[in-house]
Symmetry: D2
Subunit: 357 residues, 4 copies
C-alpha cells in the first residue's frame, strides 16, 4: 500500500540506502504551470543537515522529474520523479544487521517479510517521506491557485507548548527559527531544550499543528471518507506519529454540548460560526471555517545510548547507540505534514467536482 489518494495519487518507492527514492503522481490536473523552485524549497525544508538540531547527514535531495511535464506545464500524464540517495553510509548499519532496535520496525519487518533491508531502516526509514514532500508541494501550488493555504508549525516539544488559538497564529513566522514554532520566544526555549536532549544522546517528541485557510465549503466524502478521517489517516501514515485530533479534539471530550456547539452567524462575508470547536469540518465536510488539527509525534526511537534488545535468533543483545540522527523530528516533519494535508485537500477538491453532473 504505497499509493495514497483517490484522484490525485502518489505511489512512492525507495529505501534509505537504495539507488534513489521517488514516486509517481497520477491524476494531477493538466495544464498547470509548475514552479519547480518551490518544490525544491519544500524538499529543502525537510532535508537533513539544515540546522544544528537535526541529523547531520548530508543529502542534497535534488528532485529530478522524469515525465508528465512538458514546456513547464503538467500534461495529465503521470509525473515520475526520482531523488538520488547520495550520502548513505551503509556500514554504519552493519552492527544492527542481526539485531532488532527497540521501538523500530526492524522486528516487525523481519517477521512480516521474512528478511529486511537493514541499512538505515530500509523502507521503514522516514527518508521515504521526501517523495511525499514532492507530491505535496505540487498539490500546495494547485491549491494556492484556488486560494487555499496550508501552514503547519511546531506547537509543542516535550513539555514546551505554544498555547494559542489557531486564529492567532502568525504563520509568516514559522520558518524564522530552525524549530519552526511561530512564537520566537518559545521557539528559542524549544531549540535550547532540543539541543540539551541531543547532547544527552536522547530524543524528544512533540506536536505539530496544521492550519488550512480558504478551504471552500463542501470538501469531504461521507461516510467513510470524511475529510477529517482522510486527514487523520494521512497524518498517522507519517513515521513516528502516534495521534491525531482536529478542532476541539481530546479536550472537547470534557465539554458539554451547550458550550461546544458552534453557533452560526450571518456576517457580510457570508455564513460563519462564533466559535470553531468543529475545526472547520462538520459531518465530515468542510464548512468554510479554518481547518486545524494536531499531530502527535513520539520521541524518535534512535538514540545515542546503548539499549538492551534481542537478535534474529532471539538471543539477548546490546544495541549500540551510534550514527547520525535527529534528536527531535518535529522541525523536519513540518513540511511533511504540509505535504500530506495538501494532498488530501487537493484530492477532495477534485473529488468534489463529481458531486453534481
Amino acid at each position: 500500500m504505497n499509493t495514497f489518494g483517490n484522484i490525485f495519487r502518489l505511489t512512492s518507492f525507495g529505501e534509505s540506502h537504495g539507488l534513489s527514492i521517488g514516486g509517481v503522481i497520477d491524476g494531477c490536473p493538466a495544464g498547470f504551470e509548475l514552479d519547480l523552485g518551490s518544490i525544491q524549497h519544500e524538499l529543502d525544508r525537510r532535508k537533513p543537515g539544515q540546522s544544528k538540531i537535526v541529523t547531520q547527514r548530508k543529502e542534497s535531495d535534488i528532485v529530478e522529474f522524469q515525465s508528465g511535464i512538458f514546456e513547464g506545464k503538467t500534461t495529465g500524464a503521470p509525473i515520475g520523479f526520482v531523488i538520488k540517495n547520495t550520502n548513505q553510509r551503509s556500514k554504519d548499519y552493519s552492527h544492527i544487521k542481526e539485531q532488532f532496535r527497540p521501538s523500530h520496525a526492524d522486528y516487525t519487518y523481519t517477521k512480516k517479510y521474512g528478511h529486511r533491508d537493514y541499512r538505515g531502516g530500509g523502507r521503514s526509514s522516514a527518508r521515504e517521506t521526501a517523495a511525499r514532500v514532492v507530491a505535496g508541494a505540487i498539490a500546495k501550488q494547485l491549491l494556492a491557485s484556488k486560494g487555499i493555504e496550508i501552514a503547519s508549525f511546531v506547537k509543542s516539544v516535550g513539555p514546551l507548548e505554544l498555547n494559542l488559538p489557531p486564529e492567532q497564529i502568525d504563520t509568516t513566522k514559522i520558518d524564522q527559527t530552525i524549530i519552526r514554532c511561530p512564537n520566537l520566544e518559545i521557539a528559542q526555549e524549544m531549540i535550547t531544550f532540543v539541543d540539551k536532549v541531543r547532547k544527552e544522546g536522547d530524543s524528544i517528541g512533540g506536536t505539530i499543528q496544521c492550519l488550512i485557510k480558504g478551504c471552500p465549503v463542501g470538501l469531504g466524502q461521507p461516510v467513510f471518507g470524511k475529510l477529517h478521517a482522510a486527514l487523520g489517516s494521512a497524518m498517522l501514515s507519517i513515521n513516528a506519529v502516534k495521534g491525531f485530533e482536529y478542532g476541539s479534539g481530546f479536550s472537547g471530550t470534557k465539554m458539554k454540548g451547550s458550550d461546544h456547539n458552534d453557533m452560526f452567524e450571518k456576517r457580510e462575508s457570508g455564513v460563519t460560526t462564533k466559535t470553531n470547536y468543529s475545526g472547520g469540518i462538520q459531518g465530515g465536510i468542510s464548512n468554510g471555517q479554518d481547518i486545524y488539527f494536531n499531530v502527535a509525534f513520539k520521541p524518535v526511537a534512535t538514540i545515542m545510548q546503548d539499549q538492551q534488545s534481542i537478535d534474529q535468533e532471539g538471543n539477548e543483545t546490546l544495541v549500540k547507540g551510534k550514527g547520525r540522527h535527529d534528536p527531535c523530528v518535529l522541525p523536519r516533519a513540518v513540511p511533511i505534514v504540509d505535504a500530506m494535508a495538501a494532498m488530501v485537500i487537493l484530492d477532495y477538491y477534485l473529488l468534489n467536482k463529481t458531486t453534481m453532473i
Copy 2:
C-alpha cells in the same frame, strides 16, 4: 465513499428515516459458520432505548440477511442485509427543515449536495453505524476463530476517567453497567453524571479505549496502509469522533526516547517487550503485543436547549431543542468501535496472506 476496507469490504446505505438501512459485505471468507445470534447481540448493544441514559427512541433493529449465506455458512458471495427503520417520527424534524442546527451536518450537506434529507439528520445520522455493527460482528467472529479478541470500553465521560494501564482492564466487566466502563465504581459515577447532564437538556463527550488481544505479528501495510493509520481512519469515520491516539499517544510526545522505547525481552512464550508504549504496532505493523488506542468523542450536537442559528436563506433563527436524543453517545458507541476495529484487523489479516507467494 460508502465502502470501507480492501479485501473484507462493507458498502453501506441508508438514512435515519428511509425504508431501511443496510449494506453489502464483500470479500467475506467462504465456508465460515456464522452465529447469527451474536450478530444481533452486537446490534442490541448499539440500539436506542436500551437504558435510561441513552435516547428513548425504540428501534427494534433486526437484521435480515438477503444473500451470501447458505445452510448457515458464508458462500463467498456478497452478504446483503437490511435493517428496517420502524420508529421514525419524521414530523419531529419538520421544524428544522429550513434551519441549520449548530455543529450538525445540516449546513455542510446542504451546501455540498444542493439539498438534504432533513429528517433525523438523513445520511449524516449515526443510525448508519448499525450497518457497521453487522459487518463488524461478522468480522469479530472470524477473528475469534483465530484467537484474536477485540474489546472496547468507556474510558472517560467528561471529567470522569478510568485511568488504568490496558493490561489491567477486566474486559468481562464492560457490559455489567449501562455505561460500559469496566470499573463498577467509576461506572456508577459516570451514570449519575450523564443522568444529570440529560436532565439539564445538555450533552457530554468522552473517550473509548479499544483493546485487541491475540493479534499475530505482521498485520499492517506500509507505508500508507500502516495498521494504526487504518485504525485511525476507521475510528475518525464514526460520528462525533474528534481524535485518535494509539499506544502512548499524545502523552508520549512529552517523553524522551530513552523512556519511551520498548525494550525487547525473550520469554518462554516468545519475544515480548518490557513496556508497550508502541501500543502493539511498530513501523505500522503489529508486533504481537496488545494493541490499544483511544477514541475521542465530542458531546453530541443535539441538545434540549434552544440555540441561535441561521436558516437556508441565511437569516438568523432559533433552533428549538426537542426530540429524543442521547445525552452521551459513549455507551452506544462501544460496539461501533469494536465493529470498526474488527473490520480493520480482519481486512489486514486477509491482506497479510498475500505477503508471500
Copy 3:
C-alpha cells in the same frame, strides 16, 4: 469484487434463490430528479417471461429503493435498492445439488469456495444482472440529460446477422420485436430460429452491438483505464460473454493502415472523421464520433437435454435437462449491455471533470 466503477459505483448482492437481489449505488450525482418509471421499464426489458422465446419463469422484478432519494431527487447519499425474489422453485434444482452441470460455474464455485448455493446457480446466476440494470437505468438518465444516448440491439443470432454499418441502424426499431433486432425482417428470421432451437431443447449464441451517440470528446483515462478497456471489462463481466471488439475489431486486423486510418475532416458541425474504424475512441479517449462495439454471447449452458458429467465425489453422472430456461439470452441481454455501457460512460464523464483544476 462485487463493486463496479470508480466514481459512480454499483455494489451488488444476491443469488437466484435468496430473499432478494439488490445493490448500493454510490457516487451518484446529487440533485438529479429520477424517473422511477423508466428504471422499472429497463427492468421489464430484462425480466423473464416477457415473450415466448425467453424463459417462462415469472419474476415481477419490482425495484424498491431504500435510500439516497428524497422528494424525488438524488441526495448524494448511497442509493440502496432491493428486488425481491418471488418465483423461485428451489426444488427444481435438487437434482444438481451434487452434480456439476457442464460449462456452468458449479464446479469452479465449489472448488474455489468449498461449497456452493446450488439453487438456480446461486451467485453465478444471471439473475444478479437485474441489479446492474437498475444502476444502469439511472446512469442512462443522467447521460441523457447531457445529450448522450446509448442503444444496444441484437446483431446476430447463430448464423443470422444484421450486417449494417452503425450509422445506418434505426435504434427506434429495437424494441419493436421480441428479439430486439432493429431490422424487422431479419428479426423475424431470428425469432423463428430461436423458437426452433427452443423446441429442440437446445440453446444458441449471438452478438449484441452497442451504439453510443453524443459522447463528448475526452472521456477515457490512459493508460490502464482506456475507455474501450473499461467497456470491454464491463461487457466481459456479463454472464455468457466470450468476446468484445470495438470499431473495426477483429476484422480490422486484416486491414492495412492506409485503409484503416480515419482521416480528419473539418465540417461546419466541427471536427469529424471520414470513416470510423476507430469506433469513436482514439488512444483510449473518446473523439466525439459515434462509439460502437460488439459483444459475443455463447449459447447458454443450460439445455433441455441430458448431458454426461461428474458429481462432487468425482464420479461420472448424467445431468438431467429440466427446468425453465432461455434458449437464447440475447433479447434479455440487450438492457444489460445498455446498463453496463451507461455505467462506464457516466463514470468516465464524472472522472473527466477532474482533468483540470
Copy 4:
C-alpha cells in the same frame, strides 16, 4: 489511471521522449529471488531494432532497479525502476507539433488535456509498455515457481493465420522466428508479407493468442472481477488492441449449447473436460484446463505515406509520412501480452489466498 492490478500492482510513468520511463511495482510477494537476466530478456523481446521487420529505432532499454530488492530477493517494499530514454529524435516530430495524425491519440489528448507532448506520441506512445514488460517478467517468474506457464504467439498477420487448436501449439518454437509464430512455414510467409507492407510504407494488423498452462482451479473474482474480464481489460489497455475473445469467442456465438458445452470427465490426473470451448474459465473462475484467448491488433496508425488531416486550428493539412516505425507491431507485442497476462494471473493468484480464513 496509470495503476494496474489489485494486490500485485504496477504504476507506470513515462513518455516517448522524456528522461526515462519506469514504474513502481507494489504488492510483489516478499522473499522471492529474482532472475534479473530474464527480466532484461523480456525487455529485449520488446525492444525496437531487434529485426528487419520492426522499427529501426535503437533503444537499449536497460532496466535499472531502484528499490525493493535486497541481496537479490524481493523485500515486500515497492520495486521502483527506470529505463532511460536514449535514442529519441525529438526533431523528427516537429512537423506534427500542430497537426493531428489520423487514428493517433494526438487529437483526443489535446482536447482532453488542453495541450500535449507531441514528441513521439508522448504518453500515448507504446513506449510505455516497456514498464509493463518489466513488471510482467517479474510476475512470470513468480508464477513459474508455482508451475504456471504463459506463452503468447502471433496467430495471424493480415490474412495469414495459424489455425491450430491451442493444445497443438508448440510454444518452444515461438522465438525461433522474428515474427514469433510457432509454425515456421507460416512464419516465413508472414515475414515476407510484413516486409512487403513495410516497403509500401504501409502497416498491417493481426492477432496474438495467449496460452496459460498449469493454472490452478479457483482464480477469478465474481461478478465484476471475472478472470476473463480482468484479462480482457488488460489486453484492451495495450496500444492498438481492438478486440479480445477467450475460448470459443466470437465463433462460439454461432454454436448450439449441445455442441458448445464442455463435458466433464474423470481421468487419473483429475477432473478434466472433453472439449475446452470455455477456454479454461467457467463462471469467471479458472477450471484447471488451459486458458487461451485471442487479442486483435489494428494496423499501426503511423505509415510512411502522406495523409490528409487537420491542424490545431481546425484547418486542413497534409501529414507527412516519415520517421522510424513498425510496419506490424505483432512480434514486439508478444512479450507485452505475456506481461499483462502474467500480471493478471499473479494478481488473482494472490487474491485467491484471501478466499478462506
